[in-house]
């Protein structure tokens, strides 16, 4: 295996295309003295008073706060902040320091052992609530609660107030708060448009990975309301309670967030999110080709039809698109999420507006959603910009189903869906007994191939460890300040490998006792196997209508 020298991604490119990895979770060097030398006198004074104020309210010695605030990392800020924070480094330094102090106050508030009489009603002093591995909070710029993953957000209104104060305070210094590291918890902030999203996590995810998750959640909100609507609401009334508009779609946010081990799930689904990709339902090329032509032939004449998406088991079967348009994996994940948590789609035809933020964050696409047949649980979405074409699309769906039945495609899909190894590739097919699990993502497509979860990773505890290994590998490989091409490590309980070439990214976990030669031989075998079967597991090009 050749190790190529690491190349630096250009900032602008990584911001656009790989924004999920653009933040290197590097600990910025913050010099206390630097802060006091700050020439911005006015700013200094404000900061001073805040610090002293905070100190007064501090419970001494409860938390060991670090100053790991990536406040000045321009890459991860929203667009507005990028330019600002890049120009104001001295200020951001001081702000970070100040926020580091605030950390104490926040963590003291949320983590302090409470001997309050009201404990049973008070989440912040509730051990179950505080013991959650991951919290997600969404609030308006005014500090009004919109969503909390755990607990009644109304009861957490004070916490939301504190979050708003933190965000605003750093904003006041022409900067943006990115993360706070304290007490073994990462607090990650994402300020988008008029919303503030915060993750508080004890999980293995890096700041960048948590930000991607927050950005997925933000997209989910836009998917329901559109950016234009959210903006307009808050333009008109800053005090608007967005829960009124989101009522009924909390389940979508919850489901989106519940794919990982923090929610006690043992599933490969989390890896699609971590690699910003989707998975493809393996099918023989001839079958997929005939499915595509079955859809094409019945849709090509429909005006304003932008996408036809066929999915099953959280995997893509085929995607046919209008010329010049493509779907971003983040948008596809929203579609998968919608299908996954809408049982009602199974029993009837549906017509639903859906905003795909990466496609157009300000408008709705109108989706005809239905499962193909009772005996083939694949779900077809026909997405148009025209809100009045339900019957046209309903008709097209019927014809597509007939066509797929006559070409025996339905059977082929069902056969694949019903395979017991659903959830990943069965490794015994390849014949590498030392390989325990792998992720493979080609460079040319945001598609992921991963192997079935096998013992030992089928228990929650071990899966959590596996998840942690991949989080760590992905984080280091995609570190924007020092991206790596190859990682080979012998851990106590497994040998891990991450390898990036011009053609693919591979992450693999082996038995602990294999030697380097065996790993190289096995990887070689795996890659050859994948290349041979490539068209079964991946879709090279998404055809147009």
């Amino acid at each position: 295996m050749d190790v190529e020298p690491p190349t630096n991604y250009s900032d602008s490119a990584s911001m656009q295309s790989n924004s999920e990895y653009s933040d290197a979770e590097c600990e910025p060097h913050i010099d206390e003295n630097e802060y006091f030398h700050d020439t911005e006198r006015e700013h200094n004074e404000i900061a001073h008073s805040v610090i002293s104020e905070i100190r007064e309210g501090l419970t001494p010695g409860t938390q060991n706060a670090s100053n790991g605030i990536n406040g000045k990392n321009a890459n991860t800020s929203t667009n507005v902040h990028k330019s600002v924070s890049a120009e104001s480094l001295p200020i951001s330094n001081s702000t970070s320091t100040v926020s580091g102090e605030i950390v104490n106050s926040l963590s003291a508030a949320t983590l302090d052992e409470g001997d309050d009489d009201d404990a049973q009603f008070d989440y912040m002093h509730d051990s179950v609530w505080r013991g959650q591995k991951k919290h997600i909070f969404i609030l308006s710029e005014a500090g009004k609660p919109i969503y909390s993953l755990h607990g009644n957000e109304d009861k957490l209104a004070t916490l939301f107030g504190v979050i708003q104060a933190l965000v605003s305070f750093v904003q006041h210094g022409q900067d943006a708060i990115t993360s706070i590291h304290a007490g073994g918890i990462k607090f990650v902030f994402l300020v988008r448009n008029t919303l503030i999203l915060v993750a508080a996590s004890r999980t293995n995810m890096s700041v960048a990975q948590l930000q991607l998750q927050l950005s997925d959640v933000y997209n989910q909100i836009l998917s329901t309301l559109t950016n234009k609507h959210v903006t307009r609401i808050f333009e008109k009334r800053k005090n608007f309670d967005l829960r009124r508009s989101l009522a009924g779609s909390e389940r979508l946010i919850y489901h989106l967030l519940s794919n990982d081990s923090s929610n006690k799930r043992v599933t490969n689904n989390v890896f699609t999110f971590l690699t910003n990709s989707i998975r493809v339902l393996p099918l023989p090329t001839t079958v997929r080709a005939s499915i595509v032509s079955g859809i094409q032939s019945n849709c090509s004449k429909i005006k304003d039809l932008v996408f036809a998406v066929l999915i099953a088991n959280n995997k893509l079967i085929s995607l046919i698109r209008m010329k010049k348009y493509s779907i971003h994996p983040a948008d596809l994940r929203l579609i998968f999420n919608l299908i996954e948590c809408s049982e009602s789609f199974k029993s009837s035809e549906n017509w639903t507006p859906i905003c795909l933020p990466k496609f157009d964050m300000n408008g709705y696409l109108y989706a005809h959603v239905s499962y193909l047949t009772d005996d083939c649980q694949a779900c077809l979405l026909l997405l148009s910009v025209d809100p009045n074409v339900f019957f046209t699309l309903s008709d097209a769906k019927r014809r597509i189903t007939d066509k797929l039945r006559s070409t025996k495609s339905l059977e082929a899909i069902s056969r694949e869906i019903e395979k017991p190894t659903n959830g990943g590739l069965n490794l015994t097919a390849i014949g590498i007994p030392e390989l325990r699990h792998f992720l493979y993502k080609p460079k040319t497509a945001a598609q992921l191939l991963c192997s079935e979860l096998m013992p030992p990773y089928t228990t929650l505890k071990e899966f959590e460890r596996l998840e942690g290994i991949y989080c760590d590998l992905l984080h280091r490989i995609h570190n924007s300040t020092r991206p790596l091409k190859l990682i080979y490590e012998v851990h106590e309980r497994e040998v891990v490998l991450a390898w990036v070439t011009a053609a693919y990214e591979l992450y693999a976990v082996f038995e602990p006792l294999v030697d380097k030669c065996a790993v190289i031989k096995n990887v070689d075998k795996l890659i050859k196997w994948i290349e041979k079967e490539y068209d079964v597991f991946f879709i090279r090009n998404h055809p147009t209508f």
Binding site: M124, A157, L166, H328, F359, K443
Partner: protein
């Protein structure tokens, strides 16, 4: 969903230092159960659930503290408030005079949509004390001149009128909220334009 949505009101308490803003809040909150939390970063945050007009309303109370030092944070704290409570000390004429600037400051910083009808409530605190210096009439006149703001004389110490004042605060804020229903407008249709560069197209690793 079908259930009547819960309401959350953001209430800002403003006024000179030592007029008793925090004491008022404590009197109000601690009389009954509340999940209380204090963080002294320019403001205290408290939450209280109240019944107003047959609805359960969560009041998120922002008690601004040591305000002169935190003037710069004004926008942040005032943004999106549903009601503003102006507090002065009846034994301190200065604190009464300053209400004008507190009110103006709030309207400038928060820039509510309809400043003339934004719900303010004025509280003259410390009526339990003997050395009163601002007369009820004077205060009432001022309140009337400012679009008839409701006025209460309170004592954070013995609880006089505190409950009543906060009830009014909740009700007035709710009334304001009810006026605007959801902004349901028909969204614009996405315009497909074959010239349009799909903004994420062709970027590495971005297409599925």
């Amino acid at each position: 969903m079908a259930t009547r949505k819960k309401s959350l009101l953001k209430v800002i308490i403003l006024g000179d230092s030592s007029v008793g803003k925090t004491s008022l809040m404590n009197q109000y909150i601690n009389k009954r159960f509340s999940n209380q939390y204090k963080a002294t970063i320019g403001a205290d945050f408290c939450t209280k659930e109240v019944m107003a007009d047959d609805r359960v309303v969560t009041m998120q109370i922002w008690d601004t503290a040591g305000q002169e030092r935190f003037q710069s944070l004004g926008v942040a704290f005032y943004r999106g408030a549903d009601c503003c409570v102006l507090v002065y000390d009846v034994t301190s004429p200065n604190s009464f005079k300053n209400l004008d600037s507190w009110r103006d400051e709030f309207l400038i910083q928060a820039s509510p949509r309809d400043p003339d009808h934004f719900p303010f409530v004025v509280l003259g605190n410390k009526v339990d004390m003997d050395n009163r210096q601002v007369s009820t009439r004077r205060a009432q006149q001022w309140c009337q001149s400012k679009n008839d703001m409701p006025y209460f004389e309170t004592s954070a110490k013995d609880g006089t009128n505190v409950e009543l004042a906060f009830q009014t605060i909740a009700r007035n804020a709710l009334a304001q909220e009810a006026e605007v229903e959801l902004y349901n407008e028909f969204p614009d249709q996405i315009r497909l334009n074959t010239d349009r560069n799909n903004r994420n197209g062709n970027a590495d690793n971005c297409q599925c």
